[in-house]
């Protein structure tokens, strides 16, 4: 089972080094803007940018180490992320006393799902949560015997499980795909995460500068159609430029990047809707005040299953 990802062939290494160069540039720009006292930008925005760059450095180093340790380590890393995101999600979801035992089972599905992903059992992990957890958890909740807002509580718990565990697990599942020679599974996963992250950053930047037609004012005051088009267009070009690290042609890589960044954008919007419903700013509010894990990975959660299935279909 311990099939190490080989980092020696240059594609993944090359990709990681370009990321390091990009991040180095971002750090330089951020520090430069900070030094300039009378810049045109809002200092709060610059501080936030620098914080984000630091978070990216952290993400990049953790991922690189996980890649070096092999497929199982990477799957384990995503499993931990899922666990933490699920914690945040359920913590902010009102549950009743009777849900306690079903919830213990909900958390058990996280290791089950990731073990199945690690074993590359596609026919099992693709249905474990949407079918078996879907049936099993309502049964447990019925046994617990509390019928107040039963359907609502079921739906909330299952949504949490689907988004935080099932959807996210498709990202490490990319490692189990058989890709053609120059590309590697690790480079495919890295390509995916890069496009999502750059898409996120571009959406964020576009929110600051352009846009008049707000998509859903009650949910997010700064997500506009113009911002969406511009940032998704840029992310598509960025992804196309990375075609050499993927098993795709240039135009295929562009199409994939378009899908990834679109799903990422609307994933963020969907999670904002859930946050507004719960009346919180960030999922991490309860933790320390800055954004939680779920705020960082929402776009990955929404984009991963779609990218996985498209890639799988294309490789066959």
């Amino acid at each position: 089972m311990n099939n190490l990802i080989n980092v020696n062939p240059p594609i993944t290494l090359l990709l990681i080094s370009s990321v390091v160069v990009l991040l180095g540039m971002a750090t330089a720009v951020g520090q430069l803007l900070k030094r300039q006292a009378d810049s045109r930008f809002n200092p709060a925005v610059i501080d936030q940018f620098n914080l984000r760059v630091r978070a990216w450095w952290l993400m990049c180093s953790v991922l690189a180490v996980a890649f070096m340790l092999g497929q199982n380590a990477t799957v384990f890393l995503f499993g931990c992320l899922s666990f933490w995101a699920l914690r945040e999600f359920i913590t902010l979801t009102p549950t009743r006393l009777a849900d306690h035992r079903p919830l213990a089972w909900v958390f058990l599905f996280t290791p089950i799902q990731y073990v199945l992903v690690g074993m590359a059992k596609y026919e099992l992990y693709s249905i474990a949560i949407p079918v078996y957890a879907f049936l099993f958890i309502p049964i447990l909740m019925a046994i617990a015997g509390d019928y107040k807002r039963y359907l609502e509580r079921c739906a909330k718990i299952q949504t949490g499980l689907m988004i935080c565990v099932y959807c996210l697990s498709y990202a490490p599942a990319l490692l189990t795909l058989q890709v053609k020679a120059p590309a590697e599974p690790a480079s495919l996963l890295l390509f995916f995460i890069l496009v999502v992250t750059v898409g996120d950053a571009l959406h964020y930047a576009a929110e600051q500068f352009v846009g008049r037609h707000i998509i859903a004012p009650a949910i997010s005051a700064n997500r506009t159609w113009e911002g969406f088009l511009i940032s998704t267009g840029c992310a598509t070009m960025f992804g196309a430029a990375l075609w050499w690290a993927t098993p795709f042609e240039v135009w295929q890589a562009a199409g994939m990047s378009f899908v990834i960044s679109t799903m990422g954008f609307f994933g963020g919007l969907t999670m904002s809707a859930i946050k507004r419903d719960r009346g919180v700013q960030d999922y991490g509010t309860l933790v320390t005040g800055h954004g939680g894990v779920l705020d960082r990975i929402d776009s990955i959660c929404f984009a991963a299953p779609v990218f996985f299935h498209l890639t799988r279909a294309m490789l066959e």
């Binding site: 914690r87 359920i90 913590t91 306690h100 958390f107 933790v287």
Partner: protein, 199 residues
């Protein structure tokens, strides 16, 4: 073992610890908190820095913590708890006297003035022990602590914890004012804990 258990408790309860207008200190204190779960003792104790933790003893009910070897081991070896007999309270050896005798002039206490685990969202009225502690030892700092969400990690009557996230908030210390009546002081103490929830 103590350090390991504290780390485990912090992991299971996902506790984020906030100190608001108060800093961890080894001076003699009485931490008083709301009580909703058996984990409260463990989580509050674990959220103190280790040097403070080693000087801090929880006050707990004898009838509960002497049942079974796990609880007895935890109470005796890990928490170094002060077990108070809830059923037989002797006139000449009141629990407050016992507590004060036990802590000497170095240790601190963790107390739950509601006196039992509460299942309502609102806190119960405080028992008067806190008042007598403050009256007999006016030099003790009384630190209010609010424990949020631990009742969902391990509700009353369950044995399997669910690893949700919780939050422990330490607030600014209070003292007994000159000639402050008992009822007034207990109301103020309860309010000091309650207000930490919204900060």
């Amino acid at each position: 073992m103590r350090a390991f258990l504290a780390a485990l408790a912090r992991f299971i309860s996902g506790a984020s610890v906030r100190w608001i207008d108060c800093q961890p200190d080894t001076c003699q204190r009485v931490y008083f908190a709301n009580h909703t779960s058996h984990l409260d003792v463990l989580v509050l104790w674990a959220s103190l820095p280790s040097n403070v933790r080693n000087l801090t003893r929880p006050v707990a009910a004898k009838d509960y913590w002497e049942k079974g070897w796990v609880r007895r081991y935890l109470a005796m070896q890990v928490f170094d708890a002060l077990l108070i007999d809830r059923k037989e309270i002797k006139v000449h050896q009141s629990p407050v006297d016992l507590m004060l005798k036990a802590i000497g002039d170095t240790q601190s206490l963790i107390v739950f003035p509601e006196g039992h685990r509460n299942t309502n969202p609102e806190m119960d009225e405080f028992k008067s022990g806190l008042y007598y502690l403050a009256k007999k030892r006016p030099d003790l700092e009384l630190v209010p602590v609010h424990i949020d969400n631990v009742n969902r990690v391990l509700p009353r009557g369950e044995f399997l914890p669910v690893p949700l996230l919780s939050c422990i908030t330490f607030g600014p210390p209070i003292w007994l004012e000159m000639k402050e009546p008992k009822v007034e002081f207990l109301r103020r103490a309860r309010e000091a804990v309650r207000r930490l929830k919204d900060l």
